[in-house]
Symmetry: D2
Subunit: 333 residues, 4 copies
Amino acid sequence: MVKIGVIGYGYWGPNLVRNFADCEGAKVVAISDLRAERRALAARQCPGASVMDSAAALIADASVDAVVVATPITSHYELVKAALQAGKHVLVEKPLAHSVEHAKSLVDEALRANVVLMVDHTFVYTSAVRKVKAILEGGELGRVYYFDSVRVNLGLVQSDSNVLWDLAPHDFSIMDYWLDKRPAAVSAYGSSHVNGMEDIAYVTLLFQDNTIAHVHVNWLAPAKIRRILVGGSRKMVVYDDMEASEKVKVYDKGVTVGAAPDPYQMRVGYRVGDMFAPNLETTEALRVECQHFIQCVTGGERPLTDGEAGLRVVELLEAAGRSLRMGGVPQPL
Amino acid sequence: MVKIGVIGYGYWGPNLVRNFADCEGAKVVAISDLRAERRALAARQCPGASVMDSAAALIADASVDAVVVATPITSHYELVKAALQAGKHVLVEKPLAHSVEHAKSLVDEALRANVVLMVDHTFVYTSAVRKVKAILEGGELGRVYYFDSVRVNLGLVQSDSNVLWDLAPHDFSIMDYWLDKRPAAVSAYGSSHVNGMEDIAYVTLLFQDNTIAHVHVNWLAPAKIRRILVGGSRKMVVYDDMEASEKVKVYDKGVTVGAAPDPYQMRVGYRVGDMFAPNLETTEALRVECQHFIQCVTGGERPLTDGEAGLRVVELLEAAGRSLRMGGVPQPL
Amino acid sequence: MVKIGVIGYGYWGPNLVRNFADCEGAKVVAISDLRAERRALAARQCPGASVMDSAAALIADASVDAVVVATPITSHYELVKAALQAGKHVLVEKPLAHSVEHAKSLVDEALRANVVLMVDHTFVYTSAVRKVKAILEGGELGRVYYFDSVRVNLGLVQSDSNVLWDLAPHDFSIMDYWLDKRPAAVSAYGSSHVNGMEDIAYVTLLFQDNTIAHVHVNWLAPAKIRRILVGGSRKMVVYDDMEASEKVKVYDKGVTVGAAPDPYQMRVGYRVGDMFAPNLETTEALRVECQHFIQCVTGGERPLTDGEAGLRVVELLEAAGRSLRMGGVPQPL
Amino acid sequence: MVKIGVIGYGYWGPNLVRNFADCEGAKVVAISDLRAERRALAARQCPGASVMDSAAALIADASVDAVVVATPITSHYELVKAALQAGKHVLVEKPLAHSVEHAKSLVDEALRANVVLMVDHTFVYTSAVRKVKAILEGGELGRVYYFDSVRVNLGLVQSDSNVLWDLAPHDFSIMDYWLDKRPAAVSAYGSSHVNGMEDIAYVTLLFQDNTIAHVHVNWLAPAKIRRILVGGSRKMVVYDDMEASEKVKVYDKGVTVGAAPDPYQMRVGYRVGDMFAPNLETTEALRVECQHFIQCVTGGERPLTDGEAGLRVVELLEAAGRSLRMGGVPQPL
């Protein structure tokens, strides 16, 4: 039985607690939060756990085997570091840390402490994202031409991070999981209209071959859009997370160049075939993820979204942020 | 009765001919095309017109009052120039020309010849785009924060232009019509997978104030997306051209900054109100545009999408193309 | 070259004329309409045809080989009868006639005159409806359990027929084409709110086996819905005509009964598999239909939607109408 | 503090327990279920409650103030009766009982015992359904012409009831809440393909005036549809529960009769105006309902969906079921 302590009972904490409660082999034994009213809610919703105001006390608690960190981004480094140093396994909300330096340090610390460090890149555990991974691995799409993600809605403007650090970890972690190559450079543009932090950002990711990736994140959009397009030389995928069912659609569509003596237009061939929407399991992603964390802790398995994956995402975020501040100048990776 | 000669009977030409045929006060008297089979089709579909292979002959035809140019982009300059010099009024498919220099020269020539020069920025004549213009002019949206356009599908890869010159004229002409300010600089990234021309492009447009605009055009997308978001300080608009009805939705949504003593999050205020979809007239845009051209020719009215508007669009295209070739370096306008 | 005369240049007539104009082997030589302004439009849009006010004159015209009847329902019988008796081939808008007696008489007349009688059941010529037919013939769906059609929008309230006679011919002709069995009885309910004719109707069709079919037609609906569900023992189909693409979706879904010792619920097995949307040709249905008519006239082929098919649809309409007037009492067929 | 005992921990029970746990003024103190594995789950998810196998013991438990019955339909009557007789307040899953006789008896018993009897007509507590109620009460729609509901998907085929008793309580309770008039007769058709119970049903409800209502429920549909149309003389509403946002749309559309001298068609006037989607609160309906139950218990308020409302729904179900068995013969109410 892995005994879990959860730090932070804000928006995401209750979801983690509920899912660990449903996991075989896990038990939430402690919850901490700085705010009295959140502690009251925690006590109500999780009567079996001891609820406290001090994260340090939770980390120090000998009955806690694994610490889950669900606090604002800027606090991740200190809390995760302390937990690792106390020999606890750690699952931390995305992103791993607020700088590459900190992220690297945490990866090193986890190695030194020989404990599990896992980052809550939740989307990687959805059946939709995993199905697309399987399709990509099967080679069905051919060579990948582009990855295009739009993630916009009227979002919670954060005070300690901009829209890039808030939303783009989702896109970057999905891209990192799907593609077997890493970008060579990143350029980002954005603008800020509410509180001085960027609330709109456009990120272009350039690869050594001519693959291109693009991420549009926006806290000021009237409609919720969560759509990723992946175009390949043979087939193309649309992953639309707002679809009730049929979130993943695989299109047998493509373009092939051919001779064309038309004086007006060098026509290329088009292949427009059937569309196919694979059946997706309906398991909650967070449930799958929590179970995976428990397995890693007890079975020594390496997390799918380990510290290294978290670091790769932070590298992209930091470079994109640097480009944003420098007026879009591409930053090498 | 304005007598019309149409040069080019490919994809778009028949639509222009059909719409002018339905216009009061206009008559299509001549059609030219280099291809015999297109001439045969023209003869069949428009028995009243004389059909010829020579554009020069059509331009020289004294019975022609106005010339409509519906040929590939690279031929616009020569044909429009000749028509203007022959004293004909001209309606030319978008974009006006393939370079700023050429576009300027055509604007000058039209002035000199004292004839109408109008560019077929078709979307400007749709009831959806005009409704949004009216909403913007009414001040309903407040200050505009951003303009974001996605125009992607499995498109006809062109041999004489890239995706930017093929699709972005739509987005640029709509933006030019809607916003009362012009971008100060433009940056573009793209990649090319089929025939050496860019088939994917991401264009960021920066303004003196912190307004930002972005255009994503893509010939290699599996699904057809034609969606523009405009976010303002008071309301936001979604214009989705793929919707059967309700193409324009106005959201009473917004973000307002306020004091927030929360240690975790500086919350800002959110206004989430009703959504409203104005009724739109169902008139075909091209019909409205053709009628407008006739009015300009006969009544001396200045076209909504005159040569100057065409030139502004070409300026954006040329600058974006330059940035594309220079690896995204922003180009001033 | 089949020379076509078109009677009625209202809403549908111009579409027929335009499509016959594009057909190889056909030429529209005459058009008649009672209304002067429609004749003016016809003259403008089809300069090659002689335009007249008298349908009788058109039918008597020796240069006309085939007559297309595109007039209100109540006039079909007289006009089609006269044309058949004059030895002309006939294509008539749906439904064939306003009564079974009249429809039978027309079928007989066509046989006697040895000419083609075809009914414009347009949907049967769409690629979507034909694709579903192919799927059904392939046995992919297993045994058909039900056919459910909804066809509603804010429609043109007709003065000479109710919503049943106006819209249900579409559903009945599709059902007649898809299913290899005929209903045994029909029950219909409706109500009337505008001009004394039913503007809403619900029709249930009962079969000898326990297949059930249902059609909902409504002129007073705020949204346009054109959706047919077909459930089978193995797979199920959704045909949604309002979808821009992917009009036909085939679901690998089903229910199978099994032993289930649960005291609460006798569970049955569910099969929830992939969904598949076949690629559909983009040819205009009316174009396909006009070409088919020409082939039947010249090649002696039997029309897919011949007089017999038209008669079967009228039988359903008449029986449903009788049930409607009798408060829903099922009418045998 | 109202102490709650929940009978039945199947599909719906856990949702009720979770929502009562979040309610101020309530505490779940006991849960019973016949199945050991469901009891194990209950113990895990609700550690504060005593978990038992006997419903009778739960009802007899003096510490229980209110009993929530979440068991299959056929058991409602016995369990609710026993609870009422023990002086407990009762919230029972829809429908109230499996016959009008039983439903009436329960209403009487609650009156006699002077306790609250409330039926879990969940949809009545959604913000969408309540918003439409407010719109109807405001008279915005004018006179109601029709109510049309479609509720279909691949559903859980029940062993103790047909699709009518499983799904139609939702539609009937919404209709009962929205309309200020009751149907005079009901006709139903259905068919059965899996286990002898009807898995498809079409119900037509006739009113004294010419209002018409129709409900289509189906367990064998490939796509999930939950859509209600309400047409009025002035405006029309679409309530689509599958929409992520904008579940309720109010259309300013209508038809008005006018003089029309057209020989072909007596045209009526059409009003096609704007559409409006009111903002809806995002509170979970079941949460609102549980809180309402607690208020009724503690404050003596009459439940919105009291025993009488439950009885009216059962009257419709029983009459529709009778019509179903009699081949569609309309049953008076």
